[in-house]
């Protein structure tokens, strides 16, 4: 009888903690690991042969930007992949709606449509981004990265800057 009570109380506690954690991570902040090297050297600067998840960077993602969907050029965002809704990617926004962007390897220039943005990884060689799948709707963005929280030697704010060769005209 006492064990059942104890189990029931523990279950209630876990449920409450789960609810609160889910609400906070949906509406305010969450911490996500960064996999892959498409954002080197901003995240995961060392390409290590030991691809353990303990060495991945962990970043703080804020969800307050999802109220008005107001982003600026140079923000690093977390978004749902347009070709596979179960995957999430982290890239930098390099152009906003209405900006012109030059497509690589050709003389074409395209304008980013209304409600969309152009995302690119800082490490262009390794990055699968808007240069392959085109501009993404802003509705797919799930948060903005503000700080690195792991590893301790690189804790700090994530800069809002774009590499010079990616400037839209």
């Amino acid at each position: 009888m006492g064990t059942r009570n104890f189990l029931w109380n523990s279950a209630k506690k876990f449920f409450t903690i789960g609810l609160i954690g889910l609400t906070v991570s949906d509406r305010y902040f969450s911490i996500v690991p960064v996999r892959g090297y498409s954002m080197s050297p901003t995240f995961n600067p060392q390409i290590s042969s030991y691809t353990g998840s303990l060495t991945d960077d962990r970043v703080l993602v804020e969800k307050f930007c999802l109220e008005k969907y107001k982003f600026s050029c140079g923000d690093v965002v977390v978004f749902c992949s347009p070709s596979n809704h179960r995957e999430m990617h982290i890239k930098r926004i390099t152009a906003l709606p209405g900006d012109w962007i030059s497509t690589p390897h050709s003389y074409d220039a395209i304008v980013v449509p209304k409600g969309h943005c152009w995302v690119e990884g800082d490490n262009s060689v390794f990055s699968l981004d808007s240069r392959s799948f085109g501009p993404i709707p802003l509705g797919l963005v799930h948060g903005r990265v503000t700080h690195i929280v792991w590893p301790p030697q690189r804790v700090g704010k994530v800069d809002k800057r774009i590499p010079q060769e990616h400037l839209p005209f």
Partner: protein
């Protein structure tokens, strides 16, 4: 000094009660948020684009999110999606085709018979309003990524004479 201790001793149980009630309210709000975002929520939909299925002046429908999370949303389902043209707006349309299928549609149904055929790319869906004459949908803004789908509308709650499954 002793007056301060007396004051604290008097108010301590009331403050504790206040904290515990606030915590209860916070827990309830978290439960409400999780249910509305991840399980089921009522949504008011209005506009002419889904006539005759949904009324012009507004219907309240129940939208469930679990099907979208498990990838079970498919053709002929009425879905609520975040608009690709304005992420702060949500639109309600019907899924006509999923990835890999090809869609043939009339470019301007009121003006001509010209039709166009498109293959829906991987990870996207093609949505159209039931009222093709008055609907802004995939025929204008193209196929929509599956990640923009918020949920499937499965039951109408208001008006009462329309109560029932969609």
């Amino acid at each position: 000094m002793s007056r301060l201790f007396q004051f604290v001793r008097q108010w301590k149980p009331i403050i504790k009660e206040g904290f515990s009630q606030s915590f209860l309210i916070a827990k309830f709000l978290c439960l409400l948020h999780v249910t509305n975002t991840h399980v089921c929520t009522p949504v008011l939909v209005y506009g002419p684009s889904m006539l005759p299925t949904l009324n012009l002046t507004g219907d309240v429908v129940l939208v469930e999110h679990l099907s979208q999370k498990f990838g079970k949303v498919g053709p002929r389902h009425v879905v609520v999606v975040r608009s690709p043209e304005n992420p702060r707006k949500t639109v309600t349309k019907r899924i006509v085709a999923v990835e890999g299928e090809s869609v043939t549609f009339l470019v301007e149904p009121a003006l001509s018979d010209r039709s166009h055929t498109v293959v829906v790319p991987r990870g996207h869906v093609w949505i159209q309003g039931d009222n093709i004459y008055s609907s802004r949908d995939s025929r204008q803004f193209g196929p929509v990524p599956y990640g923009l789908i918020l949920g499937k509308a499965f039951w109408r709650v208001w008006p009462p004479d329309g109560f029932g499954s969609l």
